[in-house]
Amino acid sequence: MVMDPEIPTISIVDLGIVTKISSEKDNNAFVQLTPTFSGCPALKIMEQLVIDALKTAGYSEVVVQTSFETQWNTNMISEKGRAALLEHGLAPPPKHDGYFELDVLSDIACPLCGSRNTTMHTPFGPTLCRSMHYCKNCSNAFEAFKPVS
């Protein structure tokens, strides 16, 4: 199992970035990944982690390709993945139907107390995929995984 290097509670499958898998022979594997953000610095690390995991599992011919063929969006995070984000202290992204107004960022449930009495502080957090919020109910600052369409 390969975990996200920046959010160790979520696997890259639950994150939704594994877009193709195939194997033609016993020892050969092909995996396609799609970036969460074009400028995500963790991408090269994730490619390497996939290669290492498959080699350990006995695949000697491994090809990992990163492609924009399927464009990642936050609806691709699985239910298990959303729970894993919460476990890491990150509010999961609101679901959307392809288009959303950024007002949704002012209606995020606090991952610590569950209150929706929160406010967005800034859409740019410590990594490209996170925004920063403040909970007026429990007076804590928290981070959310930003919705991306």
Binding site: P35, F37, S38, G39, C40, P41, S67, F68, E69, Q71, W72, N73, L102, H121, T122, P123, F124, G125, P126, L128, M132, K146, V148, S149
Partner: protein
Amino acid sequence: MEFTEKHVMGLKDLLYRMADDLLILGHRNSEWTGLGPILEEDIAFSSMAQDKIGQSLALYEILHEIGESEPDTVAFTRNAEQFHSCHLVELPIGEYDFSLVRHFYFDHQSALRMDMLAETVVEPLQMVARKFRGEVKYHTMHADSWLKTLANGTEEAKIRMQQAINETFPYALGMFELSDYEADLIEAGIFPGEAALQEAWYRVISEKLNAFGYSVPEINNSIPSTGGRKGHHTEHLQPLLDEMTEVFSIDPSADW
């Protein structure tokens, strides 16, 4: 439709314009790292820099697939005359009012260009344009919220923002300098063209500026700062490139 040599030349010019704009503005945005007026702004400009440089890499990769050199070679070994970026992106960061207005003008252009390219016949470009749209949304949102906030700020804030809006406008028009292949790109369904993009952009920024309470510069009273798309740059680009490529020039095989 089979692409002719002119279509391919036009496509390459279009990709270089976009990639070079993103790389150079990404570098300029990163100059705010550590200097932003407040911590959140420091992080905002740094994050946008990261997005833009990531996007430029994806575009240089498409160029590489159609016969151009490796992305690092293209980014780090060309001189100013070989860059297709517009003058707007190469100007120094200046004061925060200028950086915010440049950000507003550029990113609305970028968002609309991606909307158009989301329907291009060039498949790899279509895929990245669809991806970038979601990222640029956060950039235009950031620019809009600051233009709006400062319009409702002190008298000094309003005056400085309006001045920056007026003074930056001719440079912004330079983003839409016509390509020699404009007709070819339109004919092949690659891109609806810089003129159509400028029209859509002017409509959007006029609407926003009016809503925030600023006056909108007139296109007819402005002389666009053009030449960048053909390799004629201001004196600011080469020093930027010298700094950006310093490590690569000392040791092209350096890794970290």
